[in-house]
């Protein structure tokens, strides 16, 4: 009985009907015919309610079957598809309203999917979730409100209580770019082909000459031995070390499209590590803010990418001021071989760069340093409109000044032999891959 009352809901129709009957009664005060008609209507309404209840509650067995199909993990910053399977076992078609209790992080209070199901019909619906923070997400009940053709009452069915799903750094992007990187189709995503300069060639093997091979690579000694034309074959240099160094400090807290720069950087770091591993390089990760949070030494073992993914998933930060001095000493001690250091950080003004510049300069003596920082796309909101008042002109000029300073930072870094990538957060992954491929092709390390 308790569950009956708990699962019983009334739809709007009953109140509309009641309102009409009340109006009839009030008119019935003047014209008694309406009073009688109202009484009849009330009787009809009452019997409809009883019929409706009997129809929907005729069996204690759940006549509706439903299931939420969750992936093992969600990908941060991407659209994740969630499936809902639902089957109608009633002997008539039903109208369902699905309210899924999605995790609090989405702050969505108006979730509603409406679907009509025929007799015995089963469907799989889906909806899209785009998480913007890593961490554990918890789903609540899957509520399904069922009404029949009368539509006066609704019965609630509850399924799939409490499911927990972790949100990982974007593995969807990782897989997307991985396939593209292997199949060399990256140009589809705006990734540039870099002309290969031959000085980074590493000898791979000697093979027989096939028409079309560059005859400048003919290996005469081998040809003499085998009395058949042999050529040297070269390949890209392998086993170079790529470190993604992520600043988890104050400046990385700024959100764009709901996601913080830190999470953009984490996603990009995962993608670039994966591509590096696919290209037979060694990938590693260092995260730091006030202190060093974690270090994954560069390696190319099979489980390296899952190791990196786990470490990146767990990164927690208080957004303290980043300590580049500590980063410098750590890198100096821990990374002994020349490596590509992709430093994800952010500078809003020229002054903040000046404080850290000496560390970058020192780092670039032993390593190839690429500083990756962000264009503030919010500033465009101020600069793209025409200024109407003097204050507008000031706002615009100051916004331009901040944009201009980022250009100055790029120049200053270049002057000091440090490479840099200045990108919008949304384009971070693509720009980073570009830089990596460029660095590899030019053989600077």
């Amino acid at each position: 009985m308790k569950s009956f009352f708990k699962s019983l809901y009334l739809s709007d129709r009953i109140y509309i009907a009641a309102a009409i009957i009340i109006v009839f009664f009030v008119i019935g005060y003047y014209v008694s015919l309406f009073y009688a008609a109202g009484k009849v209507l009330l009787l009809i309404l009452a019997s409809l309610v009883i019929i409706d209840i009997l129809l929907l509650y005729n069996s204690s067995v759940f006549k509706i079957k439903a299931k939420r199909r969750l992936p093992a993990k969600l990908s941060n910053g991407d659209d994740n598809k969630i499936d809902i399977y639902i089957k109608n076992n009633y002997k008539f078609s039903v109208y369902t309203e699905i309210i899924d209790e999605i995790p609090f992080q989405f702050q969505k209070r108006d979730f509603l999917i409406k679907k009509k199901l025929g007799t015995g019909e089963e469907v799989t619906l889906n909806y899209i979730l785009r998480p913007v923070k890593r961490g554990e997400y918890s789903f609540g009940n899957l509520n399904i409100y069922v009404s029949d053709f009368i539509g006066i009452i609704k019965r609630r069915f509850i399924f799939d209580n409490n499911a927990k799903v972790p949100v990982y750094p974007s593995f969807i992007q990782m897989q997307k770019y991985e396939i593209k990187a292997v199949s060399n189709n990256l140009s589809d995503y705006g990734i540039k082909k870099i002309r290969k300069i031959s000085n980074n060639r590493e000898f791979e093997q000697i093979k027989s000459y096939v028409a079309g091979d560059d005859f400048r690579t003919v290996n005469w000694k081998a040809t003499a031995r085998r009395s058949q034309l042999m050529v040297n074959q070269y390949q890209d240099e392998k086993a170079q070390r790529i470190y993604s160094i992520i600043d988890m400090g104050r400046t990385m807290k700024m959100p764009f499209e709901g996601m913080s720069l830190l999470d953009y950087a984490v996603n990009a770091a995962l993608v670039i590590s994966n591509i590096a591993l696919k290209k037979d390089d060694k990938a590693g990760v260092i995260t730091f803010s006030k202190s060093i949070h974690s270090i994954v030494p560069a390696d190319k073992k099979n489980n390296q990418i899952s190791k990196i993914s786990e470490v990146l998933y767990k990164q927690q930060t208080n957004y303290d001021e980043a300590n580049f001095e500590l980063l410098y000493t750590t890198v100096k001690r821990k990374i002994t071989q020349r490596s590509l250091l992709l430093v994800y950080t952010n500078f809003e003004g020229f002054v903040s760069l000046e404080r850290q510049l000496k560390y970058f300069k020192q780092l670039s003596k032993n390593h190839l340093v690429v500083v990756i920082f962000f264009k503030n796309s919010e500033l465009n909101k101020l600069t793209e409109h025409k200024a109407k008042t003097t204050l507008d002109i000031y706002n615009k000029a100051i916004a331009e000044k901040f944009k201009y300073e980022k250009q100055l930072i790029v120049k200053e870094l270049k002057k000091n032999g440090v490479f840099s990538v200045l990108t919008e957060p949304q384009n971070l992954t693509v720009e980073t891959i570009n830089k990596y491929l460029e660095m590899k092709a030019t053989g600077l390390f």
Binding site: Y29, L379, A387, I393, A397
Partner: protein, 391 residues
């Protein structure tokens, strides 16, 4: 019930209990409403006088009338009665006055005590009331009749500014009581076979006057002018009838309206129980981080704006424009004397007039100490146009 919520329920119950206890035990404020109703035991009710009418009219029936007089007397036989009206403003219309006059003509006695009277009644009986010219907190009343008169007048402390009748020289009228200025406050007037007893001091009949002031016999003496007969006590022409609390009672007396009313309540309850209940779990508010870039820029720019250094801003605009053109076309426009405007215009697609304007400003701006707001706006407009055309 959720275990977590139980403390809230306890809290609510506790507060309710405390409120109820406080409500029960707190001293009740005295109700000073001037109701003059027979069931009211408040100071200005007439509970005492009504319940002692038996002593004034021993052995006679007392009826309470809750309808208009014409409704009440429509169905009555012709027995002669006393009809007592104690009210604040006795606003009877023409029809009601006619009924009253008719009653008096037949030999009934009409006893009216009120502050003001319906115009048709006072016109017919030719009397009018006035306020005592002197507002005094103490009133003295006394009778003309030697047998009833007291040597020390009846003293009322609470009723200031009582009214009096300023009617004179009417042969039908017998004055019965007067106030301290010797103005009449109670008179009787013969009409047909009956009498009108009219006074303008209804306060005399209140519980307060009868019980507290120890002048109770004044009221009884006034009533004793009436013969011992069946008595009708009016409860209709009372000050508080107009805001009748029981308009709902009429609604409930009509079947269709009653049904509509109960249906409304029923569906309100149904709504509360079956539709307003929770459809999904509570989602706590999590505030997302805000990107405050725009606020930050606006704060900085307002600092610049306070110093009103337009020249500085103009130079900034030009520097950014220069860096834009330099990046795009590799031409430096600042401090470049040998620049060929026509060539630059061809190269960039920017109107040469516009470029000439720009260079005019460039040459001018350095010579000036500061520039005006209008000049700044002009420079900005030029820059905006150049950005537009260069795209």
């Amino acid at each position: 019930m959720n275990k977590k919520d139980i403390k809230y329920y306890i809290f609510i119950v506790l507060i309710l209990t405390v409120t109820i206890i406080v409500e029960i035990y707190k001293p009740k404020p005295v109700n000073w409403d001037f109701t003059l109703e027979q069931k009211d035991k408040i100071p200005y009710g007439t509970y005492v006088i009504f319940n002692t009418l038996d002593e004034v009219f021993p052995g006679k029936k007392t009826e309470v009338n809750k309808k208009t007089i014409w409704e009440f007397f429509k169905k009555k036989d012709k027995t002669l009665r006393n009809v007592i009206f104690i009210s604040e403003s006795f606003d009877v219309d023409k029809t009601e006055t006619a009924v009253l006059l008719n009653l008096a003509k037949e030999g009934n006695n009409i006893f009216i005590s009120a502050h003001s009277f319906g115009k048709s009644l006072s016109d017919t009986l030719r009397f009018s009331t006035k306020y005592s010219s002197l507002y005094d907190t103490v009133s003295f009343l006394n009778f003309y009749n030697k047998n009833l008169k007291r040597t020390s007048p009846y003293k009322y402390k609470k009723f200031a500014g009582l009214k009096f009748f300023d009617k004179t020289n009417n042969s039908d009228v017998e004055l019965l009581a007067f106030n301290k200025d010797k103005n009449p406050v109670f008179f009787r007037q013969k009409y047909g076979d009956g009498f009108f007893y009219i006074s303008c001091v209804p306060e005399i009949f209140t519980n307060y006057a009868v019980v507290t002031e120890k002048n109770y016999d004044f009221a009884y003496k006034m009533l004793s002018y009436l013969p011992v007969r069946e008595t009708v006590w009016d409860e209709y022409y009372k000050p508080f009838r107009k805001i009748n609390k029981n308009s709902l009672s009429y609604l409930l007396s009509q079947d269709s309206l009653k049904d509509a009313y109960f249906l409304l309540i029923l569906f309100t309850l149904l709504f509360a129980f079956f539709t307003a209940k929770r459809k999904q779990r509570i989602i706590p508010v999590i505030k997302p981080y805000k990107n405050k870039t725009i606020e930050f820029v606006k704060t900085i720019s307002s600092l610049y704006y306070k110093s009103k250094n337009h020249k500085d801003i103009a130079r900034k605009i030009i520097i950014f424009l220069n860096s834009f053109i330099k990046n795009k076309y590799n031409v430096n426009i600042i401090d470049n004397e040998s620049i060929d405007i026509e060539k630059l215009s061809e190269q960039t697609g920017i109107n040469s007039e516009l470029l000439k304007k720009l260079f005019f400003y460039l040459s001018k701006i350095n010579k000036l100490e500061n520039i005006s707001e209008n000049q700044l706006a002009e420079i900005n407009r030029t820059a905006e146009k150049i950005y537009e055309q260069a795209k």
